[in-house]
Symmetry: C2
Subunit: 339 residues, 2 copies
DNA sequence: ATGAAAGCGCTAACAA
DNA sequence: TTGTTAGCGCTTTCAT
């Protein structure tokens, strides 16, 4: 059975489709449609369980009430938590979220943007991958609201919500130094986005402030698309070749989780002489024995800021076109959770 | 600058929009459009970076190439992992995913279905909440493909992919009994869907097979929407009032994680005399000291089966309308991971 | 206070 | 081999 259309409603109510449309869009009052007609129409709508076709509406009005969310991997708790909160708030304003994972692949990211474009999403929330700048610029030139998060594109005048990554690793490293650690390994990923660079720089700066320098032997970059096994091999290698390491700072939670697995398998114990610290909190770290200190990103606030900016730009209306406001660049501070 | 339309392309190429449309849809060959025209048009398309408006296309063809995914909470790793894999496979077939979280609220679930309906999604993947049956029936009567997962609706003739929950807790409980445990607490949630019922029944059956019965004092139902603190209170209460418990079986991972937190705070040690087992694996359990045994659901396979069924129904084409195939009821087996 | 009709961008049946 | 055109369901301007 074909779903009902506005026309069916009009026919049954003996009014024109215009009238029905006005009623559907809450313009009945403004149009001074009689109470009796309104009630009759609404009765029929309810009775037939009629839902207006948003696709047709979108074609006509130009907006889809949909926001495109492009992240690295929706199954990463950091992203899915943010997705959840964004969804929540967007939903309350009548917006829906379409998501996609880039797997950190610039080509896929480009395709995704194109896909979203063809679907006419009203706004984009993007955790950028390297090389995406041009596409973002393109979106902006079309006055489509865009907010990037997680990773900054410092050269670009685009709305962004990021965490002070430099400071995050700085305080973490400083904490370790204050505890007397001197051989602090740094394990990161080989994706040289601004975010990761800054995490390294914070580490480096803290060492420098203490009169130390980065020791290349205990600095490890794990290729992003490594298999589980390869990742573990990198870590095993690090620990075996450098038994004198007294602390490890991981630049992302998934690496730290892998690290914990490796330490467990190799029987290396954590305690006074050997500590690890991770970036991004996770239940694993809280419940680990011993518990793991982390640099925690304020996930709620990140989501909050993102969706606020998006909704603000989306509802500009008269003054200036959408996406034409001043650029918002928000930097939030991470917290060090000592455990 | 307004985006280009098929008309712009046609004008610039000096052909009709039909021709452009055929070329866009890969029907150029069938329509025997000359090579030169094809090349000219494609050149212009590339040059202008033209992307066809999927909204218009959807309005015309009736399908949106979008699948609606309705889960309890996208930030739960179980759901986000499945979401990720579904996305992956759907993407390869040209489908996009729109997700929404129900928070286990029947009213919200109904609204979500309505929202998706208005957006004309081609198919639904739903982790059902209680009371959703009627809406699902409605979808099916409109020949829209639907697959439910995680929780079964045993009374309904609807495609489903579920895990044998009964067997999951049965083997877990049996394992504990074989280890000599006799006071095995069961901690679950007060959502009485088929899935949770079966988890309880499996526990009960294993006890019975050993000549034991369920002891209400060590059977706890935590209300679904409890705050963190309330949840913890329930657990603290359980442990305090029943110091002789020698094992706890948690029916979901988030409860088990809360449980670990409580045990840590109350200083109750795990070991030979006291064990816990969780449903659903999680990094926390693997890396915990001591490691926690779990009933693991085959996430990959679940996602695989879901998307296979959806895509199959979506591509039926001629023979019968969409969603008109025989119903697939898939039951997968959980694995007990002893740690 | 209500209706007629144009048109959003596209597909596909039909014409030429 | 290519073009003309109706129409998908809706919003909104202009008429009445």
């Amino acid at each position: 059975m074909k779903p009902f259309s506005i026309k069916d409603i009009a026919t049954r109510a003996n009014v024109s489709i215009t009238t029905v449309s006005f009623i559907l869009n809450g313009k009945a009052e403004k149009m001074r449609i009689s109470k009796s007609v309104i009630e009759r129409v609404q009765g029929i709508i309810k009775e037939l369980d009629f839902v207006p076709n948003q696709v047709a509406r979108s074609l006509r009005t130009g907006d889809t009430k949909t926001i495109g969310l492009i992240v690295e991997d929706i199954s990463n708790p950091f992203f899915s938590s943010i997705a959840r909160r964004i969804e929540d708030k967007a939903y309350k304003k009548g917006y829906k979220i379409s998501y996609s994972s880039t797997e950190n692949d610039p080509l896929k990211a480009k395709e995704l943007i194109e896909m979203f474009k063809s679907r006419q999403v009203d706004a984009y929330i993007i955790a950028p991958v390297p090389g995406i700048e041009e596409d973002i610029r393109q979106l902006m030139s079309e006055h489509i609201p865009v907010v990037i998060f997680d990773r900054n594109l410092p050269e670009m005048e685009v709305n962004s919500v990021v965490v002070d990554n430099f400071n995050g690793t700085y305080i973490a490293t400083k904490h370790l130094l204050d505890k007397g650690k001197r051989k602090i390994a740094f394990v990161t990923v080989d994706v040289h986005v601004d975010q990761m660079n800054n995490r390294f720089l914070g580490y480096e700066k803290a060492l420098k402030d203490k009169g130390l320098t980065v020791d290349k032997k205990i600095y490890v970059e794990v290729p992003f698309n490594s298999t589980d096994k390869d990742t573990c091999d990198y870590l095993v290698d690090l620990f075996e070749k450098n038994p004198d390491i007294d602390a490890v700072l991981f630049s992302t939670n998934y690496l730290a989780i892998k690290g914990l697995g490796v330490l467990r398998e190799t029987g290396r114990e954590m305690g006074k002489d050997f500590t690890i610290v991770s970036y991004d909190d996770h239940d694993v770290f809280r419940l680990h024995t011993p518990p793991i200190s982390v640099v925690d990103q304020p996930i709620e606030e990140i989501a909050e800021q993102i969706i606020d900016i998006v909704l603000r730009e989306l509802t500009i209306g008269d003054k200036g076109r959408k996406g034409d406001r001043e650029v918002s660049k928000v930097t939030l501070q991470p917290h060090f959770i000592e455990r």
